[in-house]
């Protein structure tokens, strides 16, 4: 399917476990982003990527790892999940043109017990 997808949509895990959230886009957009949205708040940038093999930290990167071996995929890994990482995670993509518009996936609701 065309667009940007995230998996899983819902995930429950325990403290200390490793969790990987997947993001896939079919537009061949250069830029991809990971945000977290805590209940009742706006989005905070975790990591972003300007192209394959190029990633950089955002506002709240601690406890997260990303990789981008292919343009279309941008997985986010929580190395050792903590309760404070309970949140909704959104992936977004953007072309390298001048539109500056980000396109968002449907989100992954992660609960860490």
């Amino acid at each position: 399917d065309a667009g940007i997808t995230q998996s899983p949509r819902y995930k429950i895990t325990e403290t200390g476990r490793q969790v990987t959230l997947m993001c896939h886009q079919t537009w061949s957009h250069s830029y991809m982003f990971w945000y977290r949205q805590d209940l009742g708040h706006g989005l905070r940038l975790i990591y972003y990527s300007a192209a394959a093999d190029i990633t950089d930290k955002g506002e709240v990167p601690d406890g997260y790892v990303v990789s981008r071996s292919k343009t279309e995929n941008f997985p986010l890994t929580l190395e050792s999940a903590t309760r404070s990482q309970t949140s909704v995670y959104f992936c977004a993509s953007m072309s390298s043109g001048s539109t500056d518009t980000q396109y968002f996936g449907p989100g992954t609701r992660l609960t860490v017990l």
């Binding site: 982003f33 706006g42 905070r44 977004a92 518009t101 449907p106």
Partner: protein, 112 residues
């Protein structure tokens, strides 16, 4: 701290009325964008206004930008129940590349 702050935090109106939401920011910007988020869904881009623009229209949406006051407003005219959602402003700043900074959002409820 958040670059953008929306006001009010929540707004409840009747169908057919206009809704106005405001966004203030702290530093110089390249552009300011508004996004909508329906409950349980991802964000959807509504409109972008660049720093050298003062007003833009898109359908029932009107956005203004006052760089001297570091503020923007989003007006939704003739609101509909389907406009019920959270609205976020996001700013792109010089030297931040492709990154956007989002505000906390305004929750709009349009009552039928």
């Amino acid at each position: 701290s958040q670059q953008g702050e929306e006001d009010p935090q929540a707004l409840s109106i009747q169908e057919g009325e206009n809704a106005t939401m405001n966004c203030s920011y702290k530093t110089s910007i390249n552009n300011l964008q508004w996004y909508r988020q329906n409950s349980g869904r991802g964000l959807v881009h509504l409109i972008l206004i660049r720093s050298n623009e003062r007003e833009k229209h898109s359908g029932r949406l009107r956005v203004t930008l006052d760089t001297s006051k570091k503020s923007s407003s989003l007006l939704i005219t003739a609101s509909r129940a389907a406009d019920t959602a959270s609205y976020f402003c996001a700013t792109g700043v010089p030297a931040s590349g492709s990154r956007l900074t989002f505000g906390e959002g305004t929750q709009l409820t349009v009552n039928p």
